[in-house]
């Protein structure tokens, strides 16, 4: 009922579930670092760091494959049911989401390379003002989501889901500001497009963090809350029927 991976008669099963979770957490830490580094590269116009971010995506892809293999092995050999089944499914989805979040950071890396690496383009750092805030809150969301995974804590997961609303608002506000900027000087359209990519990527990272949290809720409570409005989520709602 508690969704924890301990207590099976077959202790090896416990160990396998534990290593699956460890893999997800390790992957999460890597992705977190990617987001931080990408944000920093953007902030400082550091194309070298940006290249590192793009390069490190391979490590994350490797972990993705490992994670899916582990899930498949668990399904094939243990035939998990109930909370175990939900846990394995949730971890499989978590791996998937983390990989896609990592892809978004790779996109950020490419943007930085294009913006600061190409000589014919004069960078306009002020366009990335909103990106700094959004990156900070995306990092925070991902951190909280990983904590929720680590502790299988529903309350933290709910907080992540609700926290994503603010990131979305920030994204829309950023888009509006970029639109205004474009109206003022349509010649900067290329810069604005790059900035939109950046905002969109950060928004997606937040979404993936949210998905992580939602799968934690699924693993623990057995409820699919992906299409439930964030403000409806409460422990009372989750425990009902």
């Amino acid at each position: 009922m508690n969704g924890k991976e301990g207590g099976h008669i077959v202790q090896r099963f416990d160990a396998q579930l534990g290593s699956l979770k460890d893999l997800v957490l390790e992957m999460g830490r890597l992705v977190l670092q990617q987001v931080r580094d990408a944000a920093q590269a953007l902030e400082e116009g550091d194309t070298g760091l940006a290249r590192q971010v793009v390069h490190r995506d391979r490590d994350i892809n490797t972990l993705d494959m490992k994670g899916q293999e582990l899930c498949l092995e668990l399904l094939a050999t243990r035939q998990p049911v109930a909370s175990d089944l939900r846990f394995v499914m949730a971890m499989s989805q978590a791996v998937n989401n983390l990989e896609r979040a990592a892809d978004e950071t790779k996109k950020l890396g490419y943007v930085v390379s294009r913006v600061y690496g190409e000589n014919d383009l004069q960078p306009i750092p002020s366009l990335f003002q909103d990106a700094r805030h959004m990156a900070a809150s995306a990092v925070e969301l991902l951190e909280d989501a990983l904590e929720a995974v680590e502790e299988l804590d529903v309350d933290k997961a709910v907080a992540v889901v609700q926290g994503d609303e603010q990131l979305n608002e920030a994204f829309h506000a950023g888009l509006r500001r970029l639109a205004t900027f474009l109206f003022e000087d349509p010649r900067n359209v290329r810069h604005v497009i790059e900035a939109v990519f950046v905002l969109k990527a950060l928004e997606r990272v937040g979404d993936h963090a949210t998905n992580l949290a939602e799968f934690v809720i699924y693993a623990v409570k057995g409820k699919d809350v992906r299409y439930v409005k964030a403000e409806h989520l409460s422990s009372g709602f989750l425990d009902a029927g």
Binding site: G7, H8, V10, Q79, V81, A82, D84, R86, G222
Partner: protein
């Protein structure tokens, strides 16, 4: 034996006004089973059933409906009472010395433990398939014809032939044995024997078929054939299956009931039980955390 049966029906009818008690589905001392114990179109209903073997309280206040044309699986650790419960449904417990059943069990609203109810007639309506394939050491034909013969179902030899053929066809065994109906049923393989036993049970056209771990002595292929057969039989029969294999329960049943130490802990849709059981004991048992 007769003495035992006497006390049994006395005990059963000893509950005052039992026929009335069934009205309005009054549930006596509801035991706290999690999940929906009743269904919209029940074939059999049990209300507050207790079973004692001497001093041992084997089944505690179990209330459960068995719906028409559903496969309901009973799971639980050894000694949890699931087989005992199954054997109450066709009064096979009558043959066990010192066994006492109280509470109400109905089949199509007729009281199973009523003095008027002849267990012989009941068992023709509620057939049973056992853990170990147990064909009679007779020819295959006579195995199937046994039930129809004692109940006088077939008027002529031709009719009996037809019953034998259709039962074997339904059990998916006809093509394998049609050329050797005169050979002993004990000469078939384990899986074939078990399907023969199912065919034998079908031959008296029961409404409910009880299966007590029907695949525990079979290999996976034979098991798969039986499971496929169960799925087909659901069109015409109601099936209660007791199984030790949770995967089997998950595969064949629509509803699953979890028994623990004589209590019916939880009952629900099979998918729900196996993805999101509500009771801690159910969860612990099916995930293999049961200590």
């Amino acid at each position: 034996m007769n003495a035992t049966m006497g006390t049994l029906s006395d005990a059963a009818t000893g509950v005052a006004g039992r026929a009335d008690a069934m009205d309005g589905l009054r549930i006596r001392n509801f035991s706290g089973t999690v999940g929906e114990v009743t269904v919209a179109n029940p074939r059999m209903r049990t209300r507050g059933v207790d079973v004692y073997y001497g001093d041992k309280h084997a089944i505690k206040n179990v209330t459960l409906d068995i719906g028409s044309n559903e496969v309901i699986a009973m799971i639980g650790p050894s000694g949890c009472g699931k087989s005992t419960f199954l054997r109450c449904l066709n009064r096979m417990n009558d043959t066990v010395e010192g066994c006492r059943v109280t509470g109400h069990i109905t089949l199509d609203d007729k009281d199973v433990y009523d003095r008027q109810m002849d267990p012989v007639v009941l068992r023709a309506q509620v057939g049973m398939v056992f853990q170990k394939p147990n064909p009679f050491p007779k020819p295959i034909y006579d195995n199937i014809a046994y039930g129809p013969r004692i109940h006088g179902i077939a008027a002529s030899r031709a009719e009996l032939d037809e019953i034998v053929e259709s039962s074997l066809r339904r059990a998916g065994l006809w093509d394998e044995v049609k050329d050797r109906l005169d050979q002993p049923g004990t000469g078939l393989s384990g899986g074939q024997q078990q399907r023969l036993c199912i065919a034998r049970a079908i031959a008296v056209s029961p409404e409910v078929i009880l299966m007590d771990e029907p695949c525990s002595a079979l290999d996976p292929i034979a098991t798969a054939k039986i499971e496929e057969l169960i799925d087909e039989l659901r069109q015409n029969y109601t099936i209660c299956i007791v199984t030790h294999s949770m995967q089997q329960a998950a595969r064949v049943s629509q509803r699953t009931a979890y028994f623990h130490l004589g209590d019916l802990i939880e009952v629900g849709e099979t998918t729900q039980i196996f993805t999101n059981p509500r009771h801690k004991l159910t969860e612990d048992y099916i995930t293999g955390r049961f200590g």
